[in-house]
Symmetry: C2
Subunit: 336 residues, 2 copies
């Protein structure tokens, strides 16, 4: 049983949907079958969320994840010295923002100290973080910064479709400027590495074009010939099964039909539009290119429905399963 | 029965899938229930395509669409003086390209002379047209040019989802430069007008943002505040139920769920990626902003499967139904 990876689940903003989706997934046996979960958050808040999900084991407040093994019939919870303020559903409370931020930083520090195998994050509220004095662009930027890996990639994964984004939270104009051969090649390599970790023997990576019809032989746009194709060719020389650039408007349907294992998207919405359309609930946000395993539920705090029992835990459930899969590889590597 | 609009169906490249999908849809009773079809193409080729679809009535070669009324038990076909060369499935034959081009031009001339109510185009091959000496960027540009309406919009429609593209076959960089308030307002007006024609009383038009998360209040990109929002506000002042700019990555799912009747997309792939993913077979290409009704099957000549009985006629069938609906309005307007 010790083969199951130890995953840190950060509770996120306690006034959002984080605590209830955590309780919902912890109530399911498959969660403990794939990992040893440790919640980084507040035990009292999880206890409150259990009212909706009584099948969730009771929380056991710990101070070190190593104690988690002793707590098989309870959910280990570590607050890292930051107990949550009283829950006020849907309210933007800087005190809650501070806890959410500190819990994330604590999880990253544990991972960098090799005390856990991966982390899965519940949603935070950016405005709330800012008011609490944490001027992060988001979770991901801060995590990348703490791990010393600023050149990360934001990815969306489902069971059958996987997208690596060449850029994420940039204006479309700035994203165009980042459609450059070295960056695209790095995106391909990062995606290829993740697929190998997930057990693919020869992952097939389809690289999207940037322009309509992938530029139609240069009729509208030169990025395909000047930047994307050279990156694909360089990847192929590294024995990566990369192909493209492909017309963006049929590429995602072709991946759905099984023609490829992953798409490299040239900008945020090129990947987000199809993935959100197909997998609104099951999509998982995966951060690649950092030295730790990190996945995330692919939605926000949803303050408007928080603590009403309406939030769907499917994305968090899938995020935990993906983290376990990626972290399992990590354990194997360390053992060898 | 005379209320049914008279639709001109251009046969396209005879070496592609056009003839067989035409025969397939003409074999279905619903085609004649919604319109009076007149094929602009070659009777001998349609006769050959009928071998796969014997329920298609036999072709009757005419020289004027006015004769079509007399031919209820046959399919009227006009070749406009351009009989097709021998069919060579999948072969790029300039002689076939020439016919395809001339048939389209003949149909436009008939429509501009008010001798028919709308046209539906089967696919042509651009390279084939070029070799035949017709240097068109495509069907649509030529049709727009002939009707004196260069500022058209390329749209994709399904039964429940409709997208107007602010620009179509431009590089993404050039498309960004066209994200300007007057052009966006024109896109909204053109879309609104089409929905009124289709019978919507108060069409709900959702305008997409350009940047990730619609720019997140200016954090990445100013087009939302500087160009798109002013266009939406101007449209609202004209009593159009427009809203936005909305985050692009959830907008299409929301339209699918019934929250809006139409999306105004800021560039080709923003609309094409979701529409092709959801409606690969039923999507219809509609040209708006021109003074005639024109729809098109939303696929190419598919030379690789031509004349094998494998082409799916769903898109052409839907294109005919949409053209009939749009042209029906036109008839009502002329009668009033």
């Amino acid at each position: 049983m010790n083969k199951r990876p130890l995953l840190l689940l950060t509770m996120g903003d306690v006034n959002g949907v984080g605590p209830e989706i955590l309780a919902a997934v912890l109530a399911r046996p498959e969660t403990r079958q794939c990992c040893r979960p440790v919640v980084i958050g507040c035990a009292a808040v999880l206890e409150k969320a259990r009212e909706q999900f009584p099948a969730c084991p009771p929380p056991a407040a710990l101070s070190d994840p190593a104690e988690a093994l002793a707590a098989e019939d309870a959910v280990p919870v570590i607050d890292a010295g930051y107990p949550a303020p009283p829950v006020k559903p849907g309210v933007l409370d800087p005190a809650a923002g501070r806890c959410a931020a500190e819990w994330v930083q604590y999880a990253v520090r544990l991972l960098m100290a090799d005390k856990a195998d991966g982390m899965v994050t519940c949603p935070i509220n950016k405005a709330c973080l800012h008011r609490a004095g944490y001027p992060w662009a988001g979770h991901t930027d801060r995590i990348a910064e703490m791990t010393g890996a600023p050149d990360y990639r934001m990815c969306l994964f489902t069971e059958t479709m996987r997208v690596v984004h060449n850029t994420a939270h940039l204006s479309l104009r700035d994203a165009l400027d980042a459609v450059r051969m070295p960056r695209i090649l790095a995106s391909i390599r990062i995606g290829h590495d993740a697929l190998l970790r997930m057990g693919f023997k020869t992952p097939r990576i389809a690289v999207a074009g940037l322009n309509p019809h992938a530029g139609e032989d240069g009729a509208f746009g030169r990025e395909e010939s000047d930047e994307i194709r050279p990156a694909v060719e360089a990847a192929c020389r590294e024995a990566i099964a990369a192909s493209g650039p492909w017309p963006p408007d049929t590429l995602f349907g072709r991946m759905r039909d099984g023609e490829s294992d992953m798409v490299i998207a040239m900008y945020h919405d090129q990947g987000h539009i199809p993935m959100k359309l197909i997998a609104m609930d099951e999509g998982v946000n995966v951060t690649l290119g950092i030295p730790i395993v990190r996945t995330s539920a692919d939605h926000g705090t949803a303050f408007d429905i928080a603590w009403q029992g309406r939030a769907r835990p499917a994305s968090l459930q899938a995020a935990i399963a993906f983290a376990a899969r990626l972290a399992g590889w990590r354990e194997k590597r360390n053992a060898s």
